[in-house]
């Protein structure tokens, strides 16, 4: 008996030890679980109640327009005195990746504004259009801290958060945090994250933050990465990158002081005053992939309705008091741009569009968020300087090229900024005139296509279009290529395939890829399919290469075929007869200076007004055309139809045999005036 009890006790102890060891092994193995598999994992109880809403409150459609992956429900309180947001975020994620997911990366963009962050490091190295960071100031500091994160059904996983730096391994960069789950999320199911976070805005940098009593809340909440091409795509925030996110539904409650005027993405659902002097404004957005907001106590609001193809759009303009007289300019360009985009590319389906005129002197101007854009102007801006029109049109264009056709701005910046710059040229040319769409003031003019080309030729041979946005040699090259080069390349492409075909291709691309994340080949193949042309020779050089196009007229010579005969009689008499009867041998030499090979047309004009068109495939370095005519060559012009917009030097595209100094005289007169006036002014004060 005694022995029996002893045996039983030993067996029990062994069993307990075994169970304990097994449990311990499971507990330690869980965080280091192997790569997710498609093996069926029992559903978590909470999953059964989760879903992404199929609301259509914010769109002119009775059914959702995108495949909704995310639903963000955020309850945020903004402290205007500290420029901070304290919020809770409930993110529901629909796993449509086709495989189970055991970790989720999140963007924490506001952490970019810290001295050792990659964003600031890049800005110091590559230059920036905003803050130069020559000297660090406290007001530049921004942060986005996750206080806690709970995964429904898995408990609080805050301790599992780990900062990662997939692009540059910068240990001090905290713009991406990875959350490893306790259990993987099976394919096709939902997961819900409950996050408490605090965002501390910097003084406006990269179109986000505060200035005086204004704030632009952009990239302000923890945002999950995108599962794209079989992997998580969640890059760090760089000085030259923008954003990438999944489509979904946003329900955002903003609690702000009652004196603030607020604008945000989506439609306003409610506006309730609270007893503590604050108010809570609730917004809802459908089929969008980001949410931005702004408040300022001094906005003046103008609202109107635009009847779009899918239904009415409420246009809302939040203007600075000193710019109130420009509200009509803002509205006019918005309406005309909407008209062109709907006519040429496709419908705008959202019920709202908010145009924000941000705080003067802030780095918040010229930014796009879904259904929400910021313009930029000055109180003194005359009508002939079309800066307002340019920026409002450009940012609205992003509603299509970024907002709906949601390309990866980290990896294919040219597909949003560049395609948008191309449509900017088209739209502004049609509204403000081809040569006057940027400047039409005091007799001086400047057109959009010229501006884009000039931007491009500033850094023509440094980087290709097809490159990660954070991989450019410097921020100027990034801007030059993604905006200027892409626009010029597409304008030239339009010249190659024809304007009508190009418009059709753009429309096809938009309609096919709206509410998706297309990549570069999706766009290029669409162009080829619609045009029915093999355009690889062009794309390989223009999109994937750094070749530079530069053709020049190397020479034009004419001499009489009978030059060796002796001259007789009266030279004057002979000259008049000679003009009509002399036969000339003429040569025209054209040179391909650059390494970009492209077939070109050449127009040779003779002094009897006869014109001859030549075509050259551009394969060799140079070619020569020869003529025997009773006329001399008067002028030669490469690309007489002006379809090429990527030629680095437009001056050498033509040659006039007899000099015409009129332009020089005109410029010299201007320069002379300036010089004389300056000397008079100097003498006025000095003696």
């Amino acid at each position: 008996m005694k022995i029996r009890w002893r045996m039983i006790a030993v067996l029990v102890i062994c069993a307990i030890s075994l169970i304990a060891l097994t449990l311990r092994k499971n507990a330690t193995a869980a965080p280091q679980s192997p790569a997710p598999s498609n093996a069926t994992v029992p559903l978590l109880p909470a999953d059964q109640f989760l879903s992404i809403p199929d609301t259509t409150l914010a769109i002119n459609s009775t059914t959702p327009l995108s495949q909704r992956i995310v639903h963000y429900a955020i309850d945020a309180k903004y402290d205007a005195s500290k420029h901070t947001v304290d919020a809770t975020e409930v993110l529901t994620y629909h796993n449509l990746t086709g495989q189970s997911l055991d970790h989720f990366p999140f963007h924490l963009y506001q952490n970019a504004f810290q001295p050792n962050a990659t964003f600031v490091r890049d800005a110091k190295l590559m230059g920036t259009r905003d803050t130069g960071y020559e000297k660090w100031e406290a007001k530049y500091y921004g942060s986005e801290n996750i206080k806690s994160i709970e995964v429904v059904g898995q408990g609080d996983l805050t301790r599992n958060l780990q900062f990662v730096a997939p692009d540059d391994n910068n240990k001090d960069d905290k713009t991406v945090v990875d959350l490893r789950l306790a259990r993987p999320i099976p394919a096709g199911t939902f997961v819900q994250f409950k996050i408490a976070f605090q965002t501390n805005f910097p003084e406006t940098q990269a179109r986000s933050g505060w200035k005086r009593d204004f704030v632009l809340g952009g990239q302000w909440f923890p945002k999950v990465g995108v599962w794209w091409h079989g992997a998580w795509n969640c890059h760090q925030y760089h000085n030259t990158t923008e954003f990438f996110a999944d489509f979904g539904v946003y329900d955002v409650k903003l609690t702000i002081p009652q004196n603030e005027v607020v604008g945000a993405s989506g439609v306003e659902v409610s506006n309730v005053n609270n007893s503590d002097g604050t108010k809570t404004v609730t917004y809802h957005g459908d089929d969008i992939h980001d949410f931005a907001w702004t408040v300022s106590p001094r906005y003046r609001v103008h609202e109107s309705t635009y009847q779009a193809q899918m239904g009415p759009i409420q246009l809302r303009f939040l203007m600075q008091p000193a710019h109130w007289d420009q509200v009509e300019r803002h509205e006019r360009i918005t309406r005309e741009t909407l008209d062109r985009f709907e006519k040429w590319y496709g419908p705008y389906p959202y019920k709202t569009l908010t145009v924000v005129d941000p705080e003067p002197g802030s780095a918040a101007g010229g930014m796009e968020y879904p259904t929400f854009i910021t313009g930029e102007t000055e109180w003194w801006l005359p009508d002939g300087l079309h800066d307002v029109e340019g920026v409002v049109e450009h940012e609205f264009g992003h509603q299509y090229w970024y907002g709906m056709v949601a390309t990866n701005e980290f990896e294919d910046a040219w597909m949003d900024e560049g395609i948008n710059s191309y449509t900017e040229v088209k739209v502004l040319d049609s509204i403000l005139g081809q040569n006057t769409s940027v400047r039409n003031f005091a007799g001086a003019t400047y057109g959009e296509r010229g501006e884009q080309r000039d931007f491009y030729i500033g850094a023509a041979d440094l980087d290709p279009m097809a490159k990660n946005a954070f991989g450019y040699v410097n921020s100027f090259s990034y801007g030059s290529v993604t905006y200027g080069k892409t626009a010029s390349v597409l304008l030239t492409l339009e010249g190659i395939i024809g304007e009508e075909t190009m418009t059709r291709a753009m429309q096809t691309y938009f309609m096919k890829y709206r509410f998706t994340h297309p990549a570069k080949e999706d766009f290029l193949k669409t162009i080829e399919e619609v045009s029915g042309k093999d355009l690889r020779w062009y794309f390989n050089q223009a999109v994937y290469g750094t070749q530079v196009l530069d053709y020049e007229v190397l020479g034009a010579n004419s001499y009489p075929t009978n030059w060796f005969e002796e001259k007789k009689d009266d030279p004057k008499k002979e000259k008049s007869a000679k003009d009509k009867s002399t036969v000339y041998q003429s040569y025209v030499t054209v040179h391909r200076k650059g390494d970009f090979v492209m077939p070109i047309d050449v127009e040779v004009k003779f002094d009897n007004d006869e014109k001859v068109r030549e075509h050259w495939d551009g394969q060799s370095r140079w070619t020569r055309f020869s003529y025997v005519k009773k006329a001399k060559v008067a002028s030669v012009e490469i690309d007489p139809d002006h379809i090429i917009h990527i030629d680095r030097d437009n001056f050498n595209d033509s040659l006039v045999v007899d000099p015409n100094p009129k332009a020089t005289h005109k410029l010299s007169t201007y320069w002379l005036f300036v010089t004389q006036w300056m000397s008079q002014a100097m003498a006025w004060w000095a003696v």
Partner: protein, 328 residues
């Protein structure tokens, strides 16, 4: 003497000596022609044989102009602005050289002969350079301080939620700087006039006298100078308006003529200010003349003329010793 009196008197001096304006304009134009030669040469080389240049003739395309400036063959902008600056500086020195003659001409009530003009120029050149140096240092320091103060105020105003405040403060600041610099200009204009017309070799005395008078008649002098400056601004704006409104973009000669007429007219206001300075000097700063009691007229009495004696016969006389001049 009222402001109006000063203004009209100053303008009358300019009107009576119109030739000075013409010569200065010619000098200004000639020097500027040299100053712009590098620009012209570079532009000829690029534009004269290119069809693209048409877009600068039929209008003014900023893009084409920018492309021209960016071309390596055109050279750097420094290579264009530096000669213009040098020739501008030469014009300034030439003004300093000829200004004494102009003051002398304005002060005289007859057409100043060429010799007197150039004598005044030569005699006062070094004095003027000294005045210029003193004026330059003083004006430089004061302008520097004022611009810095203005900049600090404007920067502070940038924090304001009133967007126009910084601009308004900047304009007010520039207005104040303009007035202060104009006062300094009046002071040194009077000093220059005093140096020439008083033939004052000790320029410090002229500067001191001018300082005293500038502030004694500040309102009148400043008012006159400001009015003339406003006229200059109107002339400039008017000239540019006519240029833009009535001269077609293709008309190079039209542009040249309007530009030169504007520049010629723009020379007048500064000469007018100098005329005002001369008028003021003659009225207020001329060395006081000792008061002489009025001479009582003595009635002319008819007296009998004594008979004229016969001349003495000419004889040789001993040499007369020279008269000794009493030393003062």
């Amino acid at each position: 003497m009222t402001n109006k009196g000063l203004l009209s008197s100053g303008l009358a001096r300019v009107a009576h000596n119109k030739r000075y304006i013409f010569w200065f304009w010619l000098l200004n134009l000639t020097l500027a022609e040299f100053g712009t030669a590098a620009f012209r040469r570079s532009a000829h080389a690029i534009l004269d044989h290119r069809l693209l240049a048409e877009r600068l003739v039929k209008g003014f395309d900023w893009g084409i102009f920018g492309n021209l400036l960016a071309k390596p063959e055109f050279g750097s902008m420094n290579s264009k602005t530096t000669p213009a600056l040098y020739f501008g500086f030469t014009f300034l020195l030439a003004t300093a050289l000829f200004l004494p003659g102009i003051f002398a001409g304005y002060a005289s009530n007859y057409r100043l002969p060429r010799e007197e003009f150039f004598r005044a120029c030569g005699r006062n050149l070094w004095r003027f350079i000294r005045i210029m140096i003193v004026a330059g240092i003083l004006m430089g320091i004061i302008a520097g301080l004022l611009f810095n103060a203005n900049g600090a105020i404007v920067k502070k105003a940038d924090d304001s939620t009133n967007e126009k405040l910084s601009f308004e403060l900047q304009m007010i600041g520039l207005g104040v700087i303009f007035l202060v610099m104009t006062i300094l200009r009046i002071w040194f204009d009077l000093a220059e006039v005093d140096t020439v017309l008083n033939d004052q070799s000790a320029v410090r005395k002229s500067i001191a006298a001018a300082f005293h008078h500038t502030f004694r008649s500040l309102a009148r002098l400043l008012g006159s100078y400001v009015v003339v400056t406003i006229v200059a601004a109107l002339l400039l704006v008017g000239g540019l308006w006519i240029w833009m409104k009535f001269v077609s973009p293709e008309s190079v000669y039209g542009a040249f003529v309007v530009a030169q007429i504007t520049l010629l007219l723009l020379l007048i206001p500064r000469f007018w200010q100098r005329g005002i300075a001369v008028s003021y000097w003659q009225m207020r700063m001329l060395a006081p003349v000792i008061a002489v009691p009025p001479v009582e007229p003595i009635p002319v009495l008819s007296v009998a003329t004594p008979p004229v004696p016969e001349p003495a016969p000419v004889v040789s006389s001993p040499s007369i010793p020279p008269t000794e001049t009493p030393q003062s």
